[in-house]
Each structure stands twice: as structure tokens, then as C-alpha cells.
Amino acid sequence: MSAQAPPQFAIDPKRLLAMRGGHTGALGLEYRDHGADWAELALPYRDDLVGDPATGVLASGPILSMMDVATAIAIWLRRGAFLPQATLDLRIDYLRGSRPGQAVIGRGECYRITRSIGFVRGQAHDGDPADPIAHVAGTFMFTDPPQ
């Protein structure tokens, strides 16, 4: 099948997360919900992902990973196909530390696509969406041949 063949399957983020090995699987990222251009994942709290043993606050790395995955899935949903892409840049503002013991919920949205770039944004919280712990903005580069 050529890289330019039209998509054969609808994007199913729930199935995608369930199948996922590698970093996504090792972090234990879970599917929560999705729409036409967004996906919401969860990172369950784990002692081995702590960044500061004195406080029990999760390291920022796993949250960054979850937001990278959630925003990547948002692009696949918006493009309606599982096409190759790579993160070009990602910026995270850490608004406050997450609460020890709490799962972190991350919602990624693709708000714009061009021929070669996907623009994404997102937020993470630990229970109350109105009290976020992180805000994310980023871009992805499409690595499939231009249509």
C-alpha cells in the first residue's frame, strides 16, 4: 500500500491506547474520551514517576509525555487518518504542582492544520478542569508525502 492511499480505518483512540506498547504503555496512559479534533487521556498516579520524593509530586516528564500523545491523537482525529508525524516543538507552562496520589487528566486539541503542520494546544488537571496544572501549546510536522 502506498503512503498516499486513502485511510482505510476510522481512528479509534480507545483501541489505539489499549494496543500501545512502548513509552505510552509503560507510563500506563489510559483513554478517557475524544471528539472530532480532541482526545482526553489519564495518567494514573505512581510512586515510580515521582519527581520530588520530599513532596510526592509527579515529575513533569510523564505529564509532558501524556500531552504529547493526547495532542498527537487529536491531529489524527482531525485528519481522519493515522498518518506519520513528528513533534516539532512543545511548550508547557506548569501552573502548579499536581497533588500526590491523584491521577492527571490531559486533554489535547488540534485547532488548525495546514498542508504540512498541525497546531495543537491542551490542558492538564488533577480532578478539576477549572483548576489546571499545566497548559500546552505545540506543533507537529507531517512526515508523509504532501497530497
Partner: protein, 126 residues
């Protein structure tokens, strides 16, 4: 130097070289795999953040100060491959309340960066 649980989980080890900030090494494993054949951007970001905070700790020396990340911006320049990745931070400004830190990640050649992070930290000095 003791690393936090997350750094151990990533498999990071410290390779101090000379008097500069510590160099961190992250071995390749299924745990840091992204799309097939490539390092996950999140794992690479996690490594860069750890290198940045260690550089800051190194610059602070014996001074007791709490370090809180304000933000991070990461440029991914090349796909990381299935091999060991190294990273080193560099404090560009150590102020009273804020520190600016950059961190670079590379694989075979340290002059060929695969990703660069820029971080701002809030310092709470005792």
C-alpha cells in the same frame, strides 16, 4: 548524586565530566520507544528536564533553594534512534528569584543535537 524515582524509571545514569554540569545518559529500552524505530518525544523531554534541573542544582552548589519549574519549551530537531541518548544542561542566568536553563540532547555526536529545551525555574531561597 541521587536521582528522583522518575529518572530511575527512565534508566538515567549520571556521567560527570570535568567541572561542568553533569551529563545524563538514557539507555534505549521499550520503555522509551515512540513510533517504531524512534525515541518517544515525551521521554526525550523528560531526559532534557532532568538534565536542566541537575545543571541548576550544580550551579546552586551547597545553597539551599527550592526549585520549581515554570515552563519548558522543547525543539525536536531530529528523530532519536534506538540507542543511548545523552543530555546536558547549562544555566544561562542564575538570578535571585528565577533561573534560565538550556539543555541539549544528542546521540552519537554531541555537536549534532536531536532536541533542545529551554526552561525557566522559580527559585525559593531559604
Amino acid at each position: 548524586m541521587t536521582l528522583p524515582p522518575y529518572a530511575d524509571w527512565l534508566g538515567l545514569t549520571v556521567e560527570r565530566e570535568g567541572a561542568g554540569p553533569p551529563v545524563l545518559a538514557m539507555p534505549f529500552s521499550a520503555r522509551v520507544l515512540g513510533r517504531p524505530g524512534f525515541l518517544h518525544g515525551g521521554a526525550l523531554g523528560g531526559l532534557l528536564e532532568m538534565a536542566a534541573v541537575l545543571a541548576l542544582r550544580d550551579a546552586l552548589g551547597d545553597e539551599a533553594a527550592r526549585v520549581k519549574p515554570i515552563n519548558v519549551t522543547i525543539d525536536f530537531m531530529r528523530g532519536g534512534r534506538e540507542k543511548t541518548t545523552c543530555a546536558q544542561g547549562r544555566v544561562t542566568r542564575l538570578g535571585t528569584r528565577v533561573a534560565n536553563v538550556e539543555a541539549t540532547a544528542w546521540q552519537d555526536d554531541r555537536d549534532i543535537a536531536i532536541a533542545v529545551a529551554h526552561m525557566n525555574y522559580r527559585l525559593v531561597r531559604d
